[in-house]
C-alpha cells in the first residue's frame, strides 16, 4: 500500500490532538537541556584549559619595599626554572581590584598589607612533584612565599558543573521516557479507535507489519511536526540566554559558547525524538496486534 493509501485506511491512526504539541514541548525541553549540558561542558573545558598549568605565588610581607623585592626575586627564580613558559607579576592595581569588594577602595597599606602576586604558567600539567619542587625552590630564598595551583581553587566549581551536566543528561533521559509514554498512550487510543478496521484488514490478509507501518508513518509525521516546532522554540531560548550570558562579560561564561559540533548535536535531538516516537508506536502496535488472531 502506498503511504497516502495507508493514511486513508486508518485516518484515526493520525496522532491528532495534543500529541504533536506534547512532542514539541518535550523536544524543546530536551534541546534546552542538551544545549545547557554542552555549554556547561564547554565552560568547564575552557576554564580547565585556562587554568591547567597555572600557578600563583603569594608573597605576604607587611613592608611594601621588601614585598616588591620578593616579588621580583620570585619572578626571577621561576623564570630560571625549566618547564615554566611564562612568568608575570600581577600589577598592584589588579590585586587591589581583586580585594576591593572585601576591603574597599582606599586600602591603607599600614593597616592591611595586601600580598604581592606572581602568576606563572607551566608547560604541561601540574603534578604534585612539580609543585613541591617549585615550592622548595622559592622557599629556599623567600620562606614566606605561598604557591597554589590555580586549578585547585576551581575544583569545587568543576565538581558542581559536572553535577549539572549529569542533571542535564538525567533530564534528557526522563523527557525521552515521558515522550515514549505519551506516544504509547496515544497509539493505544488510536488502536482502539481503529479496532474494527484493523480486524477487517487482518481478515483480508493484512499483516501486522502493514498495520504497524501505518501507525509508524503517522507517528513520525506528528513527531516531525512537533520536533521542528520544539527545536525552533528551543533554539530561540538558547540564543537569547546565550546573549544574556555573553553580556555578562565574564571570561568563564564566554567559555560556554556552543561550537558547530555542539549545534549539530542539538539539531540531532529532534531526530532522536522522532526515532524514539516512531519506534515506540511500532512496538506498541505490534504488541497489541499479537493479542489479536
Amino acid at each position: 500500500m502506498s503511504g497516502a493509501t495507508q493514511a486513508e485506511l486508518l485516518p484515526q491512526a493520525r496522532m491528532a490532538g495534543p500529541i504533536p504539541w506534547v512532542i514539541a514541548i518535550m523536544v524543546m525541553l530536551m534541546v534546552i537541556a542538551v544545549a545547557g549540558g554542552l555549554a556547561l561542558r564547554n565552560v568547564a573545558r575552557s576554564a580547565a584549559n585556562e587554568l591547567s598549568g597555572g600557578i600563583t605565588v603569594q608573597l605576604v610581607e607587611a613592608r611594601p619595599e621588601v614585598r616588591n623585592a620578593q616579588a621580583k626575586q620570585a619572578a626571577q627564580i621561576l623564570s630560571a626554572m625549566p618547564g615554566i613558559s611564562h612568568v608575570a607579576a600581577v600589577p598592584q592595581a589588579e590585586v587591589d581590584a581583586l580585594v576591593e569588594p572585601w576591603l574597599g577602595g582606599d586600602i591603607d597599606e599600614a593597616d592591611v598589607p595586601v600580598p604581592a602576586m606572581v602568576d606563572a604558567r607551566l608547560d604541561g600539567k601540574i603534578t604534585p612533584d612539580r609543585l613541591t619542587a617549585i615550592r622548595n625552590a622559592l622557599r629556599a630564598k623567600i620562606p614566606s612565599a605561598r604557591v597554589d595551583a590555580q586549578s585547585s581553587w576551581l575544583a569545587p566549581v568543576f565538581g558542581a558543573i559536572a553535577s549539572l551536566q549529569w542533571l542535564a543528561l538525567a533530564l534528557v533521559l526522563l523527557l525521552g521516557l515521558a515522550t515514549a509514554s505519551a506516544v504509547l498512550l496515544a497509539t493505544r487510543t488510536a488502536l482502539g479507535s481503529n479496532r474494527e478496521t484493523i480486524e477487517i484488514v487482518h481478515l483480508l490478509g493484512g499483516t501486522d507489519q502493514q498495520i504497524a507501518r501505518i501507525f509508524q508513518r503517522s507517528t513520525a509525521l506528528a513527531a516531525a511536526e512537533g520536533g521542528v516546532a520544539g527545536l525552533a522554540a528551543a533554539i530561540t531560548v538558547v540564543v537569547l540566554i546565550g546573549r544574556r550570558f555573553a553580556g555578562l562579560g565574564s571570561g568563564m561564561a564566554a567559555g560556554g559558547t556552543l561550537g558547530w559540533l555542539d549545534w549539530l548535536i542539538v539539531a540531532a535531538v529532534p531526530l532522536l525524538g522522532i526515532a524514539l516516537a516512531t519506534a515506540t508506536a511500532r512496538w506498541t502496535v505490534l504488541r497489541a496486534l499479537e493479542r489479536m488472531l
Binding site: 500500500m1 486513508e8 485506511l9 484488514v201 487482518h202 481478515l203 490478509g205 493484512g206 501486522d208 488472531l293
Partner: protein, 247 residues
C-alpha cells in the same frame, strides 16, 4: 492449489466451540470441503452458522478439535502465516463489515491493496466489479450513504475481487431483492466454475434450489447433519464443472 494429499480444501475434525464458559455453540463438527464444490450451510437462526463460518475464515480458533485449511493445520499454525492463508479466502460478512470512512471503490480495492497490487492494476478490475454488481454510479459513495442491499453488493464485490480459492458468504443475499439475489448467486457460480470452492450460509430454503449442483450442510443446535451426503463422500465431478450432488 495447495491442498493436502487427499485433495480436500478444508477439513474439520471433531470441532467444538464455546465462547467463554457458555455451553458449546458448535459440537463434534466434522466435515471435508473439496476443491471446486458449492456448499450451502443451512440452519435456523442461532444454529451456529456464523460461528462455523468464523472458524472457516480464521477469525476464531476452536475450543477443541482440529481444522486444516489448504492442507495447513490452522490450530498450530504460527500467527505470521495467517495473512497468506487469509488472502486465499474471500469473505462476505453477515454485517458486511465495510470500512466506514472508505468509498465503495476503496472498500472493494482493499484486498488488492493489502495484497500489494499497484494502483494501476487495481482501478480497472475494481471498476468492472462494481459495475457488475450494479454500483458503477456509486463508486465514490461511503457505506453510510448506501442502502443495505448496496452495502451487501459492495461486501460481495470485495470478497470476490481477489479471485479467492475459498469463498465464504454469510447470508449474502439477505438484503437484496430476488433478482439481485439470483444475479449474485450466478456470480458465485461463475467463480465456482473457475475453481473457487463456495460456502454460502443461508436460512433461505428457496435459494438452495437456485444452484442445482450444490451440496447442503445443515446445522441444528451446533451439530452438523448431512442431508445430501456432502460430508461423507467427495463430490462427483463432471469435467471441469462444479461438483455433482451424490444424493
Amino acid at each position: 492449489m495447495n491442498t493436502s494429499g487427499s485433495g480436500e480444501i478444508v477439513q474439520f475434525d471433531n470441532v467444538g466451540l464455546r465462547y467463554g464458559t457458555e455451553r458449546e455453540v458448535l459440537s463434534d463438527v466434522s466435515f471435508t470441503l473439496y476443491p471446486g464444490s458449492f456448499y450451502f450451510l443451512t440452519g435456523a437462526s442461532g444454529a451456529g452458522k456464523t460461528s462455523l463460518l468464523k472458524l472457516l475464515y480464521l477469525s476464531q480458533r476452536p475450543s477443541r478439535g482440529g481444522i486444516r485449511i489448504f492442507g495447513t493445520d490452522a490450530i498450530t499454525m504460527p500467527r505470521e502465516k495467517l495473512p497468506a492463508l487469509r488472502r486465499r479466502l474471500g469473505v462476505v460478512f453477515q454485517e458486511f463489515r465495510l470500512v466506514s470512512h472508505l468509498s465503495a471503490f476503496d472498500n472493494v480495492a482493499l484486498p488488492l491493496r493489502v495484497a500489494g497490487f499497484a494502483e494501476s492494476e487495481i482501478a480497472k478490475p475494481v471498476a468492472d466489479m462494481l459495475e457488475w454488481v450494479g454500483l458503477a454510479d456509486r463508486m465514490a459513495a461511503r457505506p453510510a450513504t448506501l442502502s443495505g442491499g448496496e452495502q451487501q453488493r459492495v461486501a460481495i464485490a470485495r470478497a470476490v475481487i481477489g479471485r479467492p480459492q475459498l469463498l465464504v458468504a454469510d447470508e449474502p443475499t439477505g438484503n437484496v431483492d430476488p433478482d439481485m439475489a439470483v444475479k449474485l448467486l450466478r456470480l458465485f457460480e461463475a467463480l465456482n466454475r473457475l475453481g473457487t470452492t463456495v460456502v454460502v450460509a443461508t436460512h433461505d430454503v428457496h435459494l438452495l434450489k437456485k444452484v442445482p449442483d450444490s451440496l447442503i450442510m445443515r446445522l441444528d443446535k451446533g451439530r452438523l447433519s448431512d442431508p445430501t451426503g456432502a460430508l461423507k463422500y467427495p463430490p462427483r465431478r463432471s469435467g471441469a464443472g462444479p461438483a455433482g450432488n451424490p444424493s
